[in-house]
Symmetry: C2
Subunit: 197 residues, 2 copies
DNA sequence: TATTTTTAATTGACTGATCAATCAACAAAA
DNA sequence: TTTTGTTGATTGATCAGTCAATTAAAAATA
């Protein structure tokens, strides 16, 4: 049933299948055959469109990053004050879409694989830089430059840390409590700023 | 050269080789043959002493945990005040021994593998619980129960997060700055306590 | 319009490499 | 001679990646 114009559909299906397979398995050690099977095609077709497995993984990572980026832009556009911008960045990261068991596991697996794969490493750096700059866009007006930098670094670390812990014990920090924990930090720091000007 | 009493020596050499191999490679995807080679023995001997590969990995994880535990106990015993206990727990985690590139990568790899291996998952939970209780031993006298719990959770998340970030960008949070970041959080929170009693 | 030709989609079967795990055999100490 | 330490060789399974062959749509040609 070769209908033309299948390529974009297949690519998407394969990337989606990659996310869900890695998410369920909790590791990047998944076979191309299983991914392809879930996408309803043969492994040969996956190689036909993506070449080596590594490229399929990179494309998947890019998709994850793009999803997160889109949500972040949309959330930021809805915030009026700097403080709201900070909250927006935090909440996006613990959003329903991103904070699902599946996605968390996939992220973790990619984090580890990035140690070995320069392309994946580069992609993760993009994420880290973007998170940092999004946070700074809200923090800069609220604190001195070095203090804002420090806070951005701490917030980013807390977000990543809550992810990793979420993956470990299954579920302790639910989205709401994770957000609350980070917000609590921001509040404490900003109150400290106000008290010692 | 079969001298008797080799077993404990070989076991230790194999575990050490496992840590360094995983650390350098940045993944648990290392062959038994390579580990054994580094330990100066054949892969058959590794299987002879540890059985399946999985068991060698578990033994390695236990070793990592034991090292961290020993350091924690020793650091806690040297602290007089509750505030010092908190600092001790934080600094142990960013200590030279634990925070080396090698060890960081190994930890990360184990975190991911724990998604698939119930025994590894259990071991990591032991670590998480111990970290939490160590932190609480210092925080409990300094804040209300729920506030102390919140701080312990946040500190633990920051520690894990700084680990993961350390692995990603090569080197940004050095031990000193990582410690400073977490201490800054603790100070901010405690000052907030003092200001609104 | 009817035909031939080209192109896109798709897969089953295969290859080659990699590894975990086993085992029979041997060496030396007790 | 029994026990402990040790390995080379082998097996069996798993996979990534390739390739030739097949189908049908689309384009070109008659």
């Amino acid at each position: 049933m070769p209908k033309i114009g299948m390529e974009p559909l297949r690519r998407k299906a394969l990337i989606d299948a990659t996310i869900s397979t890695i998410g369920e398995r909790g590791t990047l050690n998944v076979t191309v055959a299983e991914i392809a099977g879930r996408a309803g095609v043969s492994s040969a077709l996956a190689h036909h469109y993506f070449g080596p497995k590594e490229e399929l993984l990179q494309a998947t990572m890019r998709q994850l990053l793009a999803d997160l980026g889109r949500d972040a832009v949309s959330a930021l556009s809805r915030s009026a004050t700097p403080r709201e911008r900070v909250s927006a960045v935090i909440s996006v990261n613990f959003n329903a879409g991103q904070f699902r068991e599946e996605t968390v596991h996939a992220w973790l697996a990619f984090y580890v694989e990035a140690q070995n794969s320069p392309p994946l490493r580069r992609l993760l750096r993009v994420y880290a830089r973007r998170l940092h700059s999004n946070l700074m866009s809200g923090l800069a007006p609220l604190a001195s430059r070095p203090e804002a930098e420090r806070m951005a670094e701490a917030i980013a670390a807390m977000i990543d840390g809550l992810y990793i812990r979420r993956a470990l014990r299954d579920g302790l920090p639910n989205p709401a409590s994770a957000t609350a924990l980070v917000e609590d930090y921001v509040d404490a720091k900003l109150r400290q700023q106000a008290n010692t000007p």
